[in-house]
Subunit: 179 residues, 4 copies
């Protein structure tokens, strides 16, 4: 997978976090995004338990985990904040959960990431680059391996050094103010 900035999160509402989050908020940490639907059997049986294992296994200051509720069917049942709250309560999901913004046939973030369905696991490196995306069942050996590889990488100089354009983030690079 080429180095591509992870598209911004287009989220209409969040639970389990005091404030909205975006890719840039996780700079310096590896970010795991678990895209799911609460009525998706593969998400409940495999994807979300794996996300919980990741959150428990890796130190939170190194690897962050968030869920993204990408509802593209049964909106009337699973589409509300109350539905997600009830689900998160029963399944003991304690990491931040965003509700992907409804926007046409597919939710906005789901479209931007060109996800094929749920569950989808996405791994973003410390510099905001999307490095892994897997629809369906990803096995722990594969996910552990990609996270391990990213953990071993140094941060790129261009991200922290003076030579980088100010304010570059996953949304792009603004033109520097004239000096």
């Amino acid at each position: 997978m080429n180095l591509r900035p992870a598209p911004p999160l287009q989220v209409s509402d969040w639970i389990n976090t005091p404030q909205p989050l975006d890719i840039g908020d996780f700079r310096g940490r590896i970010l795991v995004i678990e895209a799911f639907q609460m009525l998706c059997p593969g998400c409940v049986a495999h994807g979300l338990p794996q996300a919980q294992r990741i959150a428990q296994f890796f130190p939170a200051e190194q690897v962050a985990v968030i869920g993204l509720h990408t509802v593209f069917e049964h909106h009337e049942v699973q589409g509300t904040r109350a539905a997600l709250e009830a689900f998160a309560h029963e399944y003991r999901l304690s990491f931040p959960l965003g509700i992907d913004r409804q926007d046409g046939r597919l939710p906005a973030t789901m479209s931007a990431y060109q996800m094929q369905g749920t569950p989808t696991l996405i791994v973003v490196d410390r510099d905001g680059m999307r490095r892994y995306q897997k629809f369906g069942q990803a096995d722990d050996l594969a996910v552990g391996s990609i996270i391990g590889t990213l953990l071993g990488e140094p941060r790129r100089a261009s991200q922290s050094g003076a030579a980088a354009p100010a304010g570059c983030d996953s949304n792009g690079c603004p033109v520097p103010a004239a000096s």
Copy 2:
């Protein structure tokens, strides 16, 4: 467990069946009732898959399986017919599913059976007697054993013979109208 007639099903709505069902409709067959809630992790991970295995393993003319949606929390999310339909669709539940009638703190059938929570597995014999009830995780060896025992039992004479009062059902036997 003593031989006690299984209380009637108090159901406000059904899916996967063209007409309402009650205990008496299963006379001559063993009836397995899986009481569940769609947001109950133990129901999704264990109870409902077990009910599906039972439905697949035993001949339908010998053993019937139904689900009972005993919603006692998160009513706004899981309490509608649409919610249950979406859930049944995604989880490929094809046996009849009744929505336990809301009636005070606990649903009506749940109260009548004195269930302690979900999942609860109930086995009713060919004569409408409740013979097994288990809250939580019942293992297949236990459930197979109770069903096997009931399959081996002859039907009681009083249930099929001419001497039986007309209209006996699981609630008892009414005095026949004077002729």
Copy 3:
């Protein structure tokens, strides 16, 4: 499966029992025989754990479990008593284990039961009749069901009454000596 007497056990050596055992010793109890080889992956992963679950779940006075080491390959490795003892020790097998008598291409009991391989699960009823035999992976619902059915059966009158010829066993009933 028709009612056929279970053939006698032809065992060259036993462990976990102070004395040799045969079908007749289990009269009045249901007998589960797990035929296995210690180097058979399906036996180690599925058959023997299931036998242990059966031994734990059902009361010992109702259901007895024994293992039968039916070695038909790798004799030099798994064919000794010492090999079986080491295996039983490591796998915590505490029920009686018989070593099927080597006798030509296949062990003697394995031949007499016409087993197709290992693991094979056999269930013998209280009267010494073979009622179930399954090569490969038997699921708990099936095994529970057959045991439950047998538990629910009354013992046949001929087996316990005074009229029965002395010395009846699974091989048949000899004519009593003239008095």
Copy 4:
């Protein structure tokens, strides 16, 4: 874990390889060593299947997997080459398997690595340094992570550059050729 050269393999016999192997033979590849005993339940249920998953998941030119039969009990049963061959055949183990040399109370390699028992998983980096050692059940996320980290590492300059003693490996350091 500090960077320590992995001690040499002290193996009395090999199967699944045409010639003896040692740590130095895997230079440039990550080496996973699964130390096991064929009668160890945790090895059969967890350790060896995990080693097989690793061998299947990672490209062989990047990650090598070998087994080490560290027999420290039941020598008369599991201590022979024939026993290991029969076991490897039945469990479809196709990676190289070494028999740890018997040497006092514990086998020689097991002692040198100070293993606490079986199963033990060891990961050696491309430069022959032991980087991970885990007795008991290691989960796939952990093992995937350490392998991923090592895969992401560049080979150390000191291993190939002029400043390092030529050809140092876990077996020792040969005198450099005169210039």
